[in-house]
């Protein structure tokens, strides 16, 4: 059964790739069916995965002690359910969204391939299998970001995403070498069983190397710059890969390697801090965006910061829960935004939207519910998970991280409602000409795109209810086999209770909302919206519009020097110095040849003199030295 779950999407991808030209529009149905079947197959394993140690299938082994297998335990199960479940819904949505595209079968082939790669990542029972999945999802992401490869911006974004992801792959690879060399195995169970034998520096090295992988894949500071650009891909891709699943692989990995983090408090500090910084940095950048997808991209970065912050400090259940709820509400936000973009024939700039609430009420409700959930409004899913993460910081004794978390929650409310007010309220500012995604004439009924969004709404509202009841909640009991005995360090006793903490967060959220309302939602602000927005766009500090100049920094520190060295080597060192030395050698041979050539003057008698002189030398030598006996 595990095989079926794992290989169905691969089969779908291969069939779609080979038969693509014949299938054309029907490709979407095939692709969705492969992922959907995989989802239902996963449901049959629900009970078996929940028991310790889960479902396990050996795959075979390489030389040198690499043994491979598949494994499904509660943690993998949650990811698989999201990948195939939310993934399946996004596939269905894409049938409508991508209708009319020239290469729709290729699109679904890539999507199915992505699902397969992601399943490889989460189902592997060892680090190398994980690494393979890790690389393959990067590849799928590259293909899908660059799906419209005639557009130079998409091509550049795809390359950037892939290269930064390879940085992460390399970090993770190094971690694999470290762990394998010191424990002799790549299987999770073996490695974790021997964690206590590892010297602290080795453990810290491994943790840092793993986290480099996580940071690149999950867009953590300072390796986050590819994520906003990644939205050059079609919107369903953004929803599936760059919001719901792939970018959360880092969260999965940290949670999966919980035993490593539990043994190294330094690594915990590092990961928790970076998560919090990313959450805040992403949220602040979200304020300055005009592209609806970029707002969502920075919010994704910020929310993953929360997750990493949660699993980093040891609040694994909270972090994973935030992944779970985020998958719903963020996918829904992207898909709802996609409805708007689709209806506006590719327009993505919120300054050119306005008043959409009346024109497309369904998209509006989708956005609104998603926004309420992401802001952490009570009774929506995001409330339960985000509060759990933030409160977890306090439990673990990181008051500063707690403050950052609360501040981020407030900013989140501000930029999400800013976007909502600008795009969906006020006067209609839509224009006729567009520069965004290619528009397609569609003959697919509207419900194909609306039903997936409607189903996601259920999750967006209700996914958090699983966590009601604290340590005895369904969620905690389900994940218990994975995080049994491993829990928060609980070094600092919390000064405030759970409820008080929630109230504090809520106050921050209300403040954020209030500010957004005053600046963008109040009737006074709505009346002269275009002028206000223009002024805001002009006065926006460059540090925000350029993403803190991190891109420029990376460019100046790594890309430029590498190119300069390559130029120096290829254009100067190679042809001039090294090859010059070789040419000098051959030139020297020529000079020697020219000199000796003078001796060959063609006069027989001159040659004879030379011979006689030579003989004379021999004779003289033996005359003086005597003949050896």
């Amino acid at each position: 059964m595990l095989y079926t779950i794992w290989l169905l999407p691969l089969l779908g991808a291969v069939v779609l790739w080979v038969l693509g030209p014949q299938l054309r529009e029907r490709g979407g149905i095939l692709g969705s069916a492969a992922v959907g079947l995989s989802f239902f197959a996963t449901l049959t394993l629900y009970r078996a995965a929940g028991t310790t140690p889960g479902v396990h299938v050996p795959l075979g082994s390489w030389i040198g002690g690499f043994t491979f297998g598949l494994m499904m335990d509660p943690l993998s199960l949650i990811w698989v359910l999201v990948i195939t479940g939310v993934g399946g819904l996004i596939h269905v949505y894409s049938i409508g969204y991508m209708a009319g595209d020239r290469a729709v079968a290729r699109f679904f082939a890539y999507m199915n391939f992505f699902v397969f790669a992601m399943l490889t990542l989460v189902l592997s029972d060892n680090f190398v299998g994980l690494l393979v999945g890790w690389g393959l999802v990067g590849l799928a992401s590259y293909f899908l970001i660059g799906f419209w490869f005639e557009r130079p911006s998409a091509v550049a974004a795809a390359r950037k995403a892939f290269v930064i992801n390879v940085v992460g792959d390399v970090g993770l690879m190094f971690a694999v070498f470290v762990l394998f060399s010191h424990t002799g195995s790549i299987a999770y169970t073996d490695v974790f069983a021997r964690v206590r034998d590892l010297a602290p520096p080795v453990l810290l090295t491994a943790c840092i190397a793993i986290f480099i992988g996580c940071a690149a894949k999950s867009a953590q500071v300072p390796l986050h710059t590819w994520l906003p650009d990644a939205l050059e891909g079609p919107t369903p891709v953004s929803a599936l890969i760059h919001a719901a699943t792939m970018v959360t692989a880092g969260v999965y990995l940290v949670a999966r390697c919980a035993p490593l983090w539990d043994s190294s408090s330094a690594a915990r500090e590092l990961v928790g801090t970076i998560g919090a910084v990313t959450a805040l940095a992403g949220a602040i950048l979200g304020i300055a965006q005009w592209d609806i997808k970029r707002v969502l991209a920075y919010s994704t970065m910020s929310q993953i910061g929360y997750m990493i912050m949660g699993v980093g400090v040891g609040a694994y259940e909270a972090g994973v829960l935030h992944f779970f709820t985020h998958a719903f509400f963020k996918a829904q936000l992207f898909l709802a935004a996609g409805l708007a973009i689709h209806a506006l024939a590719g327009e993505q700039d919120i300054r050119n939207m306005g008043g959409l609430a009346r024109r497309m009420p369904f998209a509006f409700w989708g956005m609104l519910i998603g926004t309420l959930s992401i802001c952490g409004v009570p009774f929506f899913a995001g409330f339960y998970s985000k509060d759990a993460v933030i409160y977890g910081e306090l439990l673990d004794g990181h008051p500063w991280l707690y403050v950052l978390g609360v501040a981020t929650a407030g900013i989140t409310a501000y930029y999400m409602f800013r976007m909502l007010f600008i795009a969906f309220f006020g006067r209609d500012r839509t224009q006729t000409e567009h520069h965004g995604e290619p528009a397609h004439a569609s003959n697919v009924p509207d419900w194909v795109m609306q039903v997936p969004v409607a189903i996601l709404m259920v999750g967006t509202i209700a996914a958090g209810y699983l966590d009601i009841g604290g340590d005895n909640s369904i969620w905690s009991r389900f994940l218990a086999p994975d995080f049994a005995g491993e829990n928060l360090l609980r070094t600092g006793a919390p000064q405030i209770s759970d409820m008080v903490s929630s109230a504090v967060v809520l106050v921050a959220v209300v403040l954020g909302f209030g500010l957004a309302y005053l600046r963008y939602g109040a009737p006074a602000a709505l009346t002269n919206a275009p002028e206000r927005l223009d002024r805001e766009a002009r006065t926006m500090p460059p540090v925000l519009t350029h993403g803190y100049f991190v891109d420029d920094l990376i460019w100046a520190l790594f890309v430029r020097p590498a190119q300069a060295l390559g130029m120096a080597f290829g254009r100067f060192l190679d042809p001039v110095l090294i090859d010059g030395a070789v040419r000098d050698t051959s030139f020297l041979a020529g000079v020697l040849g020219w000199i000796t050539r003078r001796l060959e003057n063609g006069l027989v008698r001159a040659y004879a003199v030379t011979i006689v002189l030579g003989v004379a030398c021999f004779v003289a030598y033996y005359a003086f030295a005597g003949i050896p006996r």
Partner: protein
């Protein structure tokens, strides 16, 4: 082993050296290829004489055998060399070796 020669070995060698030097002088000073060939023949024979003398002196027939070999090779060499001289003369109408320098580097 006692040499059985009635004439001292050194006389043979001295004569051989003298003939050889005459040959060398001939090759170096004359420009007519025919004369040069004759001088070369002199050198061959000087060497032959030395070999025969040593063979006689040391009672070792290898020297005599080699002298025969030298005579045959010398004959062949003379034949080939004369042929070359003839062809060269036909082509260049010239028998001065200093004028024939087409192999100059």
């Amino acid at each position: 082993m006692t040499p059985v020669a009635s004439v001292a070995l050194v006389n043979y060698i001295g004569l051989s050296a003298l003939i050889f030097l005459i040959g060398v002088a001939g090759v170096l000073t004359r420009r007519n290829p025919l004369i040069m060939l004759m001088a070369i023949e002199l050198m061959w024979n000087a060497a032959n004489l030395a070999m025969l003398a040593f063979a006689r002196a040391w009672l070792n027939n290898a020297g005599q055998v080699f002298a025969f070999l030298v005579i045959t090779v010398a004959a062949a060499e003379a034949a080939i060399a004369l042929a070359i001289v003839l062809i060269t003369f036909r082509r260049t109408k010239n028998v001065d070796v200093d004028e024939i320098a087409s192999l100059s580097g």
